[in-house]
């Protein structure tokens, strides 16, 4: 039983590290702010959450129930989508252009954009 939980926690930590790596590759590769934000806000969330969960399980087997890790997961789930949304919104309002191949932009003309900053 202990060994099984240890294997699960190792798998979770590896998966989390892999998703964080993919998120950082995405931030480098993708063309504009909005698509980069897709990679950063999603993959980083799941990556960090599964690393925290793996750590929790590892120490749970050793006999420590550190509930702060669970709290950290909950806080992360609440805050990281909001962070992604606010970065996107700030980028749009300061006039950051979408990628050239973008298909449509329904928000165009609906909000006032400051074009002096960039």
């Amino acid at each position: 039983m202990t060994e099984t939980i240890k294997i699960i926690s190792i798998a979770l930590i590896l998966i989390g590290a892999f998703f964080s790596l993919v998120a950082s590759i995405g931030v480098v590769r993708l063309p504009d702010v909005y698509t980069r934000n897709h990679a950063a806000s999603k993959s980083a969330t799941l990556g960090v959450i599964s690393i925290l969960l793996g750590t929790f399980l590892f120490f749970y087997v050793e006999g420590h129930q550190n509930t702060r890790l669970i709290l950290a997961i909950v806080f992360l789930l609440m805050t990281s989508p909001v962070g992604g949304h606010m970065i996107n919104r700030a980028a749009y309002y300061t006039g950051v252009k979408l990628w050239d191949k973008s298909a449509r932009d329904d928000l165009k003309g609906k909000v006032k954009i400051k074009d002096t900053l960039l």
Binding site: V22, Y34, S41, Y92, L98, S102, A103, D106, L107
Partner: protein
Amino acid sequence: MAFQILLNLFIAFVWMFLKVSYDPGTFIIGYLMGLGMLFVVRRYFRSRFYLGKVWAAIYLVLLFFKELILSNINVLKIVLQPKLDFQPGIFEYKTILTKDWEITLLSNLITLTPGTLVVDVLENEKEKILYIHAIHVPDAHEAIDGIKNTFEKAIMEVSR
């Protein structure tokens, strides 16, 4: 809903006082009996029986985790494919939800669904409009609308 939970706790405490034993086991038995009583008298409450709402909330959390994992696999495919041949774009989505916390929950869920990210929320007189950045507009549009209908339905189920 909060009133029903408070009433349930009150019945559990009354049961503990009746039994003159103050351990968690008695409390749990009293709580379960209170649940049964509230179920019997559920037609006198204005909102529906609260266990249904609790179940809807649990369903929403499970849906949230499923979508989070699916969206990560989606991003994984997009980032690691050799050519960047997707068409991003911003489309608008009119929502029927009205309360602020429902809109917040819906936009958080949309942000964590495959290939979508909320850019802005505007409101006119009748409805609130979410502006969503999608990573691949042409094929995602219909599917995303379907997904969001399930989200909206799940949130309505909780708040109703």
